[in-house]
């Protein structure tokens, strides 16, 4: 970036994402979307593409759009292909002199629309090399339909399709590592980030993703007070705990080079992240200590591998 990050300057830009949308109070998605779009240069236009999701049904409910830029939603599983189509049209019309100026293409999908049903479309778009950014706002379940498990849901998390009962103990599998799948596409830029502090990490990575030519991917942890079952005002704290426990490491892969962008001064135990959230409550029942141990072992193993990869 040409200039250092300055929160005061950034928040004074005209907004790209407006109030009046129907997301839940305290929703992480609204914070993520306005944070990503804030990284666009003032003078540049964008087309925002959206997968069917909480975000979509809440931000373009006829006749109310929360976007200052052009926006298209078509279906749940095809937002990356949809973005491909807009970008293709831009290239064609620019070549034919029917459109001028720079336009950026940014897609938002939830984890259901990205890790699961939209993965094929996303893989195809990344493979073809469209000049676009795909942003997954990852709230770790199908929240739009009422908190069902996705392949992004963490191990043991309670959802409406992985309930806790006498036999069931929440989700049986670990969270799919989508960012690594995207890295394996050898795209120019892929990163994990979250809404934190002064938003420097999210902003810097958004800027890089938007202004790096080619297909770029951002995976943004997006806490969901309803699905994760925590008080709405705790969002910043929950996001902070996710990164300080290394449950959600912040890193980027630029042209194949892995780089950690944040190393906690003190790596906190995983249970610090789990405890405030109702979806993990059963893990703290007497006799279920093994769950927390397993969750810790999994995070430790992934973190160690990430340290190796990033040469820390």
């Amino acid at each position: 970036m040409s200039t250092v990050y300055n929160l005061k300057r950034e928040v004074e830009k005209p907004v790209r994402f407006t109030g009046g949308h129907r997301l839940c109070a305290g929703c992480g998605a609204g914070i993520v979307v306005s944070g990503v779009l804030r990284a666009l240069k003032r003078e540049e236009r964008a087309v925002v593409v959206n997968a069917t999701s909480c975000l979509e049904v809440s931000t373009f409910m006829y006749p109310y759009t929360a976007y200052m830029d052009s926006y298209i939603h078509s279906a749940f599983e095809n937002s990356a292909a949809t973005c491909s189509g807009v970008e293709a049209a831009y290239n064609a019309l620019k070549r034919r002199g029917k459109v001028d100026g720079t336009v950026k293409f940014i897609t938002f999908g939830g984890d259901g629309g990205t890790y699961d049903i939209g993965l094929q479309s996303l893989s195809g778009a990344m493979d073809r090399g469209h000049d676009m950014v795909y942003v997954c706002y990852d709230n770790e379940a199908y929240m739009n339909t009422g908190i069902q498990r996705s392949s992004s849901t963490p191990h043991f998390a309670r959802t409406t399709t992985t309930p806790v009962g006498t036999v069931g103990q929440g989700k049986k599998q670990n969270k799919k590592d989508l960012t690594e799948i995207l890295v394996a596409h050898h795209i120019p830029y892929a990163a994990q980030t979250a809404p934190l502090g002064s938003f420097k990490d999210l902003h810097t990575k958004s800027y890089k993703a938007i202004y790096t030519k080619g297909p770029c991917f951002l995976n943004v942890l997006s806490p969901c007070p309803r699905g994760w079952d925590y008080p709405t005002e705790k969002l910043a704290e929950i996001a902070r705990l996710a990164v300080d426990t290394c449950v959600w490491p912040l890193y980027e892969v630029e042209e194949g080079m892995w780089r950690l962008t944040y190393i906690p001064k003190k790596k906190l135990p995983v249970e610090d992240f789990l405890r405030p959230q109702g979806r993990f409550r059963h893990m703290f029942q007497p006799g279920n200590e093994w769950m927390i141990e397993e969750a810790q072992a999994y995070v430790d193993q992934k973190w160690e591998r990430l340290l190796e990869r990033t040469g820390v």
Binding site: K8, V11, G19
Partner: protein, 103 residues
Amino acid sequence: MIHAKDINERTPWQDLTPGGEIYEPGTARLFNTGTWRTNTPVFHEAACKHCMLCVPFCPDIAIPVQDGKRLDFDYMHCKGCGICENVCPFQAITMVSGGAPNE
């Protein structure tokens, strides 16, 4: 051109936009989500250092900024989640019970 402000639940089909398109930016601003609040943030201007840490954390884009200063809440859109109170290092925001702006 058909404008969002002229579209409501009494508009006949002939006056709606084909395909449900909207040709203007940010028409959601016309919609009042302030009525959703059960708790309301109160801004203490004197305590505010205008560090702006609350602004990007507002999911409802309800903290306007002008000339390097954050202004009072946009109560038409604030849903009262309380994140801002939690991220403010200077206790310049406090949540009060009830949906009405405390003015």
